[in-house]
């Protein structure tokens, strides 16, 4: 079980097991062995993480709290402590750094590690996998599942095969032998809708996908057809990027009661736009696309986006475009009651081009950021985020 040829890379995907729930169970021994749900417990709450005990009841993350409670009335709800999870995450990433500098974080509890250069130092891929799991356990008391393969695609699939506390290593002929019988939806980029379309074409497994005729793949994937066939063969050339730039920045809020009134929704948008713009500025970026996300009371979710020129980083413009997108959506969905509203931006780039007129609004924004950093988000904002708009 060694990484084959010289050119072959050795990539690990490390995924913490039920991360938030495991942290809570570690810190509060009375929760161990019990079905623990991290997330909002109210009628509108959503499960952010479920312990393995809770998963036995079919509870998954992103499930509404009411549904989770129906499946397991004894489940214990715990309020999320995001800043604490961030601290734990920092420790975990420090451990990753012991093995390689090439770490691409995907979230607080998930990362790709390029171990190609580390193999000679640590022995075999299997030695490395075991060692990473041990070190994470020593430092944090938490278990991780590790998948190792010649690329990110295989590593990611492998880490999920032996969860929790798993280690799965796939190289050479084992890749096809393992992947082929799996559902095609294990391949990144195939979501539930695409999976349905594939099912209708009789494409169920990774093997089916690899052997599907060109015209079928082209119909489903368009110009990505060839790329998907490669993926189904376990081929993936993407490098591990230790400094992956942000793809998008967003903020959303689930309301304690549904909101239908446009003025109230606009106030919510203002607050969200402020949070998003502050993060764009903090990273020295500017954005060229504004996105809103809307979830109706029946859980139907919509997103609308618009390109803005020039790229922006001020909340006034994020807000103005978001309000515009929302009013267009509201015209198409009159009287809709919303349970969630989100604002996001993408098309991020370095704020390199200086503006002739932008200094004052930039300066206002960064001054507000400083005040909010010191006194909290609610310390100062624009009038439109306040009641009585």
């Amino acid at each position: 079980m060694t990484a084959g040829t010289d050119q072959e890379r050795c990539i690990a995907h490390v995924d913490m097991d039920a991360f938030y729930a495991s942290v809570e169970q570690r810190d509060r021994p009375e929760l161990r062995g019990l079905p623990v749900l991290v997330g909002g417990s109210g009628d509108r709450g959503v499960v952010a993480a479920a312990s393995y005990e809770a998963r036995r009841f079919g509870i998954r993350s992103a499930m509404p709290a009411t549904e989770a409670r129906r499946r397991c009335p004894d489940a214990l709800f715990v309020k999320p402590r995001m800043s604490h999870y961030k601290d734990v995450s920092t420790e975990i990433f420090r451990v990753f750094g012991e093995f390689t500098p090439d770490v691409e974080g995907l979230s607080l509890d998930e990362a790709f590690l390029d171990l190609t250069a580390s193999l000679r130092l640590f022995g075999t891929a299997s030695d490395l996998g075991i060692r990473i799991k041990e070190r994470v356990k020593e430092e944090t008391g938490l278990t991780a599942s590790v998948g190792i393969g010649p690329n990110k695609l295989v590593a990611k699939i492998a880490s999920d095969l032996d969860k929790p506390d798993g280690l799965c290593i796939l190289f050479g002929p084992q890749i096809s032998a393992t992947l082929d019988p799996l559902s095609a939806s294990v391949i990144g980029g195939i979501g539930p809708r695409t999976a349905q379309r594939l099912d209708r074409l009789g494409i169920h497994t990774v093997l089916d996908l690899r052997n599907a005729p060109d015209h079928q793949l082209e119909r489903v994937f368009g110009r990505y057809a060839a790329r998907m066939r490669q993926k189904a063969s376990g081929i993936d050339d993407r490098p591990v990027c230790s400094h992956r730039p942000d793809q998008s920045i967003s903020a959303e809020e689930t309301f304690s009661t549904d909101i239908a009134e446009p003025a109230a929704l606009r106030r919510k948008l203002a607050g969200l736009a402020q949070r998003v713009a502050a993060r764009v500025r903090a990273k020295g970026l500017q954005a060229s696309v504004v996105i809103i996300k809307v979830r109706k009371s029946d859980f139907q979710t919509f997103s609308r986006q618009r390109r803005v020129t020039p790229a922006i980083g001020d909340e006034a413009t994020v807000y103005r475009v978001a309000v515009d997108l929302l009013s267009v959506w509201l015209t198409d969905n009159p009287g809709a009651r919303l349970r969630l509203l989100g604002v996001g931006v993408s098309g991020l780039s370095d704020a390199a081009q200086l503006g002739l007129f932008s200094e004052s609004s930039d300066r206002l924004g960064s001054t507000l950021d400083t005040i909010r950093d010191r006194f909290g988000q609610a310390a100062m904002g624009t009038g439109r985020s306040r009641e009585g708009d």
Partner: protein, 365 residues
């Protein structure tokens, strides 16, 4: 209604106004042109509710009347007929018929009464300038207008009336172009109006280099009469930013360069700049100007240009397109620059293009 004339007499007014007709309309009638045949002549009108263009036509009227007809179809038909062919247009009921030789076309019409026309614009200001001046004003500034900017007041051209002159200012927030030309009239000095982008581009097509141009400015419209064509556009209702504030005061460390040499060097360097951001690095020193560009593929361009410069050595980044636009708009042999520091605006001008100034903000390197 009954009209007859040569193909060319129909074609000319249609070609003059067709640019105003949008390819996709919000109202079906906006795809049509209004043909109005009165005893004193025939006019063809096109509108997109923002810009209106009326062209007088040399067409003889057999029977007067008004009708609207699909503009592009009528234009395409006239264009496809033989040179100098005799054309007859008649309207009966809801159909219009075009006859020429052995060809016959029946077109759908919509009632003239439903066609939105801009009547009186309540002109308060009258300005007279040569067409050549107007042409210069637009040509030297239009490229700096913003395009679909969320700051809607930048998607147009500022016209500012001065004593004995008319000034145009265009900016997209990154660079700015300013041009002054002589103008007469009974206008209030200091009055500012913003002409929307499409209006500017249509007006630019309209003005030539001969004769005068009359500009009338009302509260919400500006109107220009050029020969047989009357052009009217709505104004952008908004406040243009204080452009004076961002034009640097003339200081000491000016740079002078052969305009064409510099333009060509920048043009070559631009080939290997980042396609999206168009950034180039300029290294200024007593020894000259070094221009560097590189792209994500790690390809690099380097150019050296002789310049006159006595100030401190400096490195400054620019979007190369902005510099090329400004250099292209200047006329003289020697271009002058002023840069103060790598995060302040750069002023460009030349002695042989009086009245024109360009301001470009740098890029962070």
């Amino acid at each position: 209604m009954k009209l007859s004339a040569t193909r060319e007499a129909f074609l000319e007014p249609l070609q003059a106004v067709i640019g105003v007709v949008e390819r996709r309309q919000t109202m079906p009638i906006l795809a049509n042109v209004l043909i109005s045949a009165q005893d004193d002549g025939v006019s063809v009108t096109a509108t997109d509710l923002e810009v209106e263009m009326v062209a007088r036509a040399e067409i003889s009227v057999g029977q007067s009347g008004e009708v609207t007809i699909p503009g592009r179809k009528l234009l395409d038909i006239c264009r496809a007929l033989k040179d100098k062919a005799k054309v007859e247009l008649t309207v009966s009921g809801e159909k219009a018929t075009v006859r020429s030789g052995r060809s016959r076309f029946t077109l759908a019409t919509l009632p003239a009464g439903e066609f939105p026309v801009i009547e009186d614009i309540n002109a308060q200001e009258q300005i007279v300038l040569t067409q050549a001046s107007m042409h210069k004003l637009l040509e030297k500034t239009h490229f700096s207008m913003a395009h679909q900017d969320v700051r809607y007041y930048l998607n147009g051209l500022l016209l500012e009336i001065g004593k004995g002159h008319l000034r145009a200012v265009a900016t997209d927030g990154h660079r700015l172009a300013l041009c002054d030309v002589e103008a007469e009239g009974t206008a209030t000095a200091g009055r500012q109006v913003i002409v929307p982008r499409k209006g500017v581009l249509e007006l630019q097509r309209l003005v030539g280099n001969e004769g005068d141009l009359n500009l009338a400015i009302g509260n919400n419209h500006i109107r220009a009469e050029v020969g047989d064509i009357r052009f009217t556009t709505k104004l952008i209702d908004g406040r243009f930013p204080d452009y004076q504030r961002v034009i640097p005061k003339l200081g000491e460390n000016n740079i002078t360069a052969d305009r064409e040499d510099l333009r060509q060097a920048l043009y070559r360097a631009a080939i290997l700049s980042n396609e999206k951001y168009r950034g180039i690095r300029m290294e200024l020193s007593g020894g000259g100007l070094r221009i560097q560009a590189h792209n994500p593929e790690q390809e690099e361009a380097e150019e050296e240009v002789e310049v006159g410069y006595d100030g401190e050595a400096m490195e400054i980044g620019f979007n190369v397109n902005y510099l090329l636009d400004a250099l292209g708009a200047l006329d003289g042999e020697t271009a002058s620059f002023q840069v103060n520091d790598p995060s302040s605006s750069c002023l460009m001008w030349d002695e042989e293009t009086p009245g024109c100034r360009y301001v470009v903000m740098p890029m962070r390197l």
